[in-house]
């Protein structure tokens, strides 16, 4: 796999190779999250997109500086609404505890929820409008806490875990394929909220220019030590050029290229650390008594239950853990891009593609999950050049003006779907356990 990425580096450019590598690492984290749920416990979660987006939201809320004006304009209303929500939840909990299950109880809870939602909607309206009116071209939202963005990786995990707790409480009792549909739809609801609650996330107006944990290219290009470093690396190439002015120009070009490679390398380092930590933790968990218990529950729920294992609780726990890992990946993704675009969260890219990675890589095997993330992401990105090459190869005899050939070349970007689909189908048919199947060693 690494060889392939190196080949991209040599044939296309190191910049592309590194950005593919970084996204491979992020995909690997997501896949590990899904793999924990599916491979360890047999829980199907098609809501990966929702957790990814929540992780991204965490990155925004943590790193953006608070917008003081917006807080003054509508902060109070928002806090009041939050407080109302808390009160509502507490009242419902109280009713659930104090009263016996009856029709009246169900109806009164429904009434409380509906009237609560209406109350919040009408009481928060002026606040939301005031916040969104504050310099809508630049801010128009409450902003965040102004902390370093790295913290958002933890907060993203907490957000996603919190959502998973609610979803798990609601949906985990369902049969597998219903669980899949329910989680898919819940994640769509989450995206709808993130997209349209402008006071919180700026919605489809996007948040750009997030802080970075890595240095900026522009700063690097004027830093002495970095220029020296580039000079040293390319001394062979530079010494060939005799003319001093030409040499300076070549150096400048190299520095500009080098700076973006260097930034990407910084990200790769950070992401690698996360992947390695997660890999160690998940491997430890897999071979611990807890991991054995999870497999027992997965393979025979009733028997595990009879042995005194609390299946419901363990399912909920693993659902939260897996989703939290996906949340970390979501925050990492936004950190790397430096922007948060709620409109870009689509189930194709963030749910189904991740599932292809899990299945292709090998469910239940953490190395398989990472391999799946790498292979599938690499193919997803490089599918267009590969299919372009193939089309040109097979239609070499046909003139350029041929309508069919032109049409095929025009639709090159869509061959990636074909590749993914065929890959998934072939793996499912001929190697149902994935490239690296689950290996259980009993010591």
């Amino acid at each position: 796999m690494m060889v392939l990425i190196f080949m991209v580096g040599i044939f296309q450019s190191w910049n592309i190779a590194l950005s593919i590598f970084n996204l491979c690492l992020i995909s690997a984290v997501m896949t590990m999250g899904a793999n924990i749920q599916w491979g360890y416990a047999g829980l199907i979660n098609f809501g990966i997109m929702g957790y990814t987006a929540l992780g991204g939201l965490a990155a925004v809320l943590i790193s953006v500086d608070p917008v003081q004006e917006a807080w003054r304009a509508g902060g109070f209303d928002i806090l009041m609404s939050l407080w109302l929500i808390v009160v509502m939840v507490l009242v419902i909990r109280f009713i659930l505890k104090r009263f016996e299950k009856s029709k009246i109880r169900t109806y009164s809870i429904a009434a409380i929820i509906i009237s609560g939602i209406l109350l919040i909607r009408f009481s928060a309206e002026p606040g939301i409008e005031a916040i969104e009116a504050v310099d809508p071209a630049k801010t128009g939202f409450l902003g965040g806490f102004g902390l370093p963005i790295i913290f958002s990786w933890i907060v993203g995990a907490l957000f996603a875990g919190g959502l998973a707790f609610i979803v798990g409480k609601v949906a985990l009792g369902l049969r597998a394929d219903y669980l899949a549909i329910a989680t898919l739809l819940i994640s769509e609801i989450v995206i709808a909220i993130i997209k349209h609650e402008d006071w919180l996330t700026r919605g489809v107006k996007n948040v750009i220019g997030l802080k970075r944990p890595a240095p900026y290219e522009v700063d690097l290009q004027t830093t002495d030590w970095f220029i020296k470093l580039v000079e040293k690396f390319n001394s062979g190439k530079l010494s060939v050029i005799d003319n001093l002015a030409d040499r300076q120009a070549a150096l400048n070009q190299l520095v500009i290229e080098g700076s973006s490679v260097f930034v990407k390398l910084c990200y790769s380092g950070l992401f690698l650390i996360v992947v390695i930590i997660l890999l160690i933790l998940t491997q430890k968990a897999l071979y611990s008594p807890w991991g054995r218990m999870m497999r027992a529950i997965r393979d025979n729920e009733e028997a595990a239950n009879a042995m005194g294992k609390n299946v419901v609780k363990q399912h909920l726990l693993i659902f939260i853990l897996g989703s939290a890992i996906v949340g970390i990946a979501g925050a990492m993704l936004v950190t790397q891009d430096g922007l948060f675009t709620p409109g870009s969260y689509r189930p194709m890219r963030y749910t189904f593609l991740i599932w292809v990675m899990v299945i292709v890589g090998g469910s239940g095997n953490n190395f398989g999950a990472i391999l799946g993330g790498f292979v599938v992401w690499f193919l997803w990105i490089e599918a267009a050049p590969i299919s372009l090459f193939l089309i040109n190869f097979f239609t070499a005899g046909i003139p350029e003006t041929n309508a069919l050939k032109a049409h095929l070349i025009e639709s090159v970007p869509y061959f990636r779907f074909l590749m993914m689909g065929l890959g998934l189908l072939f793996i499912m048919r001929y190697r149902p356990k994935g490239i690296l199947p689950e290996k259980i060693e009993i010591k």
Binding site: A176, D177, Y178, A180, V356
Partner: protein, 336 residues
């Protein structure tokens, strides 16, 4: 007078659009439910299969238009639908032979089927996009309106206009005909009854001499008809774009489950439940209240329960609530 105006307003903006949208969803939902009941898996390729059917219909429509064939006031697409259906069924049988058949013989769990259908979803999506491209396409021709809003106003002297698009009438009419035919088939013919038997209890059905191959074949044929017509009607009414079709899969699933999955009649009604609740909850009632309330009580705000951005979220929330409180759906389907 004001009262009639209010009724017309609701008819124009809520009732007719919801009925049309509901019909389109209902066809898709019956498709999902049939596959679920008889082949026993949740078909994630639903939306893309519908877009494949629509695509073939569009290609034939273009062909007929180029030949100069048309139906006068009716859209040419109606003529193209039967040909689209043939290709759709052919494609579905091909997929069944090369993909699903193997897992059926293996007696794989439903989850595995669902995963495989995701593979089919990717492939179908690629095929559609490679053949016709991802762009937004309109293929409607013929007369657009049956009643125009302005004509209606002049005719009745009311303030509110009632616009009736021909696609809406076609959609509702075709849906009623198709669904009645389908229920007649399922309840009255021998093949239909054996399909029901197979869905209820596979082993018992096999013992009583029902040929599973025939059942599967007929199921795919019906599914092909439903998918193509449902997709084509949606495309006629709005427009054809592969991405929207993929997204439509979600409310269709919601409709099928709300109605009780495995139960065609439930799916049919589920489509309307979803469509009506989506539109009822996101419509701004300001004008309606202006007509029926005295002037002093007129509302200042839009009187909208949820902003229209949450249209999809409404149907999904309904689904989640149904799943929690009545997992077998409104009309008892298969119990989970």
């Amino acid at each position: 007078m004001d009262f009639i105006n209010a009724i017309i307003l609701l008819l124009n903006y809520i009732f007719i659009p919801a009925l049309t949208y509901g019909s389109q969803l209902a066809l898709g939902a019956i498709f999902v439910t049939l596959i679920y009941g008889i082949l026993r898996f949740a078909n994630f390729a639903t939306g893309d299969m519908m877009s494949f059917g629509t695509m073939t219909t569009i290609l034939f429509t273009w062909y007929f238009q180029s030949l100069g064939v048309s139906l006068g006031v009716l859209p040419t697409a109606l003529l193209a639908i039967p040909f689209g259906i043939i290709f759709m069924i052919f494609y579905m049988l091909l997929i069944d032979k090369f993909v699903f058949k193997y897992y059926r013989h293996q007696k794989s769990p439903p989850v595995q089927f669902a995963m495989v259908s995701i593979g089919v979803m990717f492939v179908t999506q690629a095929v559609v996009r490679i053949i016709i491209g991802p762009a937004d396409r309109r293929f409607f021709d013929g007369e657009k309106f049956i009643i125009k809003a302005r004509e209606f106003k002049e005719m009745t002297g009311l303030n509110e206009g009632l616009a009736l698009k021909s696609t809406q009438v076609i959609t509702i009419f075709v849906t009623i005909v198709l669904v009645s035919l389908l229920f007649w088939f399922l309840n009255r013919t021998k093949t239909g009854k054996s399909m029901k038997a197979y869905s209820d209890n596979e082993d018992l059905a096999l013992l009583s001499g029902i040929d599973p191959k025939k059942i599967v074949l007929v199921t795919w044929i019906i599914a092909g008809i439903l998918a193509t017509i449902g997709g084509a009607l949606y495309g006629l009414d709005k427009s054809f774009k592969p991405f929207t079709y993929f997204n439509n899969m979600l409310p269709i699933f919601a409709a099928a489950i709300v109605g009780g999955i495995g139960n065609p009649f439930g799916a049919f009604l589920g489509g309307y439940v979803i469509a009506f609740s989506e539109i009822l909850l996101t419509y701004a009632y300001k004008k309606f209240f202006m007509y029926i309330l005295p002037e002093s009580m007129e509302p200042n705000s839009l009187v909208q329960l949820l902003s229209t951005d949450y249209k999809f979220a409404v149907s999904f929330s309904i689904l989640v609530i149904v799943l929690i409180y009545r997992p077998s759906g409104i009309f008892k389907g298969k119990v989970l």
